[in-house]
Amino acid sequence: MSSVDVAKQIHEDADSMLKGLSIEDQERVLKEAHKIVKSLKRIELITSKVKARA
């Protein structure tokens, strides 16, 4: 899939996830998305440290 197709797909999924929620609930979803991205960065840090030691 091209960058455009992937972006469109993601935005469609975001739409179905956030549509119909109150602003407060949408804010909570954004907070959880932030935590997910933070976790991904931590995973990358841990795995690269382990690989560097090996």
Binding site: S2, S3, I10, H11, A14, K19, E27, I36
Partner: protein
């Protein structure tokens, strides 16, 4: 400083050397930086995109990490805005456009970050026709109006 906002498709193209738009995107960023303009994107919109992308699988975890790495490597500033303001503005845009919330998070992020230009390779959802509806709301809300185009078109405007 003039801010150029980068939508998700530009970030994905930048992170993937095999993407059709990869080289043009790199060139675009290089030129924008030479001109002394600031490259930005909205942290909440991008984080939402990456989280959903990984959860629903158009993106692998490695893809999401490459996008974050590219954002860092190219000096793109991922900036936070007030989430309530962001989501309220998205609601206003929804009344005027048929766009999806995922797209509108970027339009709203660009407006709240005072970007002058929004660049996207997705011309179906980011184009001058939709720009008019977005800017109708931006003017009503006393926000800066934005010019929307592909990176190639935005670069032409910047070089004028």
């Amino acid at each position: 400083m003039v801010r150029v906002y980068l939508e998700l498709s530009v970030l994905i193209a930048l992170a993937n050397p095999l993407d059709f738009f990869h080289n043009q995107t790199k060139e675009f960023l290089h030129e924008v930086k030479l001109l002394g303009f600031e490259l930005v994107s909205c942290a909440q919109a991008v984080e939402m995109d990456l989280a959903i992308g990984v959860a629903k699988r158009p993106l692998r975890v490695a893809d999401a990490l490459k996008i974050l790495e590219a954002i860092n490597a190219y000096g793109i500033r991922l900036l936070l805005v007030n989430s309530k303001d962001l989501l309220s503005l998205v609601r206003e845009y929804l009344k005027e456009t048929p766009l999806k919330i995922g797209d509108l998070l970027h339009y709203a992020g660009a407006a709240l970050l005072n970007a002058e230009y929004l660049s996207s390779w997705n011309t179906d959802d980011f184009n001058p026709r939709l720009e008019k509806s977005i800017n109708k709301v931006n003017r009503r809300k006393d926000l800066k109006t934005i010019k929307v185009g592909t990176p190639s078109i935005v670069l032409r405007w910047l070089l004028q």
